[in-house]
């Protein structure tokens, strides 16, 4: 076990050192109100038996996939300074392991799947990551990585891009915050979404639009969970 953890640490060190050496990262953050998303989730879960219950994470993943359709320069691989966008959207999901280290297995074709399928596959990935039974193809298929350290309680996460990918989306903890909108002030569940992206491939302006698209998509969860993208 300790040997496996040491080996994993080496692999992570190598990939992350290469990332920071070669990729000119830029970072953006956007606060996302989740009043509509959490209300939708509460209502959906009220009628569902335990095995069908939904997490917030699949909604976030669906929003990332839908936004990537509009901003393809964040989805794909950069090799030898040449970017190849990926038609498929496979979201690498960062899962930390309690023995140390982390893995980023991919949820395949997230945009084309409905919310129940994404939810089921995410739960299965987490379960198999814990049990050490992920397939090697799953570990190398991500076209972008999504990390959510919110459960562990951080407000925001600024990630290190996993080469040869060109972007990483981070989600922080959902907290109730004062939220001003339409000239009024109310309390709303809010999370901070972040983007780490490769400046060889994209610029901050497009990165900002990409994060804004994720924010806007999450304001209409019913549509997001149905529509294939």
């Amino acid at each position: 076990m300790a040997e496996r953890a040491a080996q994993m640490r080496k692999v992570i060190a190598s990939a992350m050192a290469r990332s920071k050496r070669e990729i000119p990262h830029y970072y953006l953050a956007e606060d996302v109100p989740l009043t509509a998303a959490t209300a939708w989730l509460t209502q959906a879960n009220a009628a569902r038996p335990l095995p069908d219950r939904l997490l917030l994470a699949p909604l976030l993943l669906k929003a990332v996939a839908a936004a990537l359709r509009r901003y393809p320069e964040f989805n794909g691989y950069c090799r030898d300074e040449v970017f190849s966008p990926s038609e498929a959207i496979h979201l690498g999901v960062a899962i930390s392991l309690r023995a140390g280290g982390l893995v980023t297995p991919a949820l395949m074709d997230v945009g084309r799947k409905d919310i129940d399928t994404v939810n089921r596959e995410l739960l299965d990935l987490v379960r198999r990551a814990r049990a050490g039974s992920l397939r090697s193809a799953e570990l190398s298929s991500g076209t972008i990585t999504v990390t959510s350290l919110g459960d562990q309680g951080v407000a925001a996460v600024y990630g290190v891009i996993y080469p040869p990918q060109v972007a990483l989306v981070g989600f922080g903890r959902v907290t109730e915050r004062p939220w001003a909108s339409d000239g009024g002030l109310r309390v709303a569940p809010v999370l901070t979404a972040t983007l780490a992206a490769d400046h060889r491939v994209s610029d901050g302006h497009r990165g900002g639009l990409f994060l804004a698209a994720i924010r806007d998509l999450l304001q209409n969860p019913a549509e997001l969970t149905q529509a294939p993208t």
């Binding site: 009220a46 219950r53 739960l123 379960r127």
Partner: protein, 80 residues
């Protein structure tokens, strides 16, 4: 099932999703999340395993109240 049997079944479900924990080290009245590093997906996987083992459905509105092993045993005892 007796309370002891319920507790054993709950701990078995827990080690199923977190194989590295020592069930003997879990203190029943302390917050489970402080003793085992569970994220929301682990937590749901745990509850689904409990549902599979004991046939007890836990409404979403009740999930947030079940913060310790003792509270889970109480709840399952009432609902079984």
């Amino acid at each position: 099932m007796t309370r002891d049997q319920l507790q054993a079944a709950l701990l078995e479900a827990l080690t199923g999703i977190a194989p590295e924990i020592d069930p003997a080290a879990i203190e029943p009245t302390k917050l489970l999340r402080d003793q085992v590093d569970l994220d929301s997906a682990d937590w749901l996987n745990f509850l689904v395993a409990v549902h599979g083992k004991l046939g007890i459905d836990i409404p979403d509105a009740d999930v947030g109240k079940l913060t310790t092993l003792a509270k889970l045993v109480d709840y399952c005892e009432r609902r079984q």
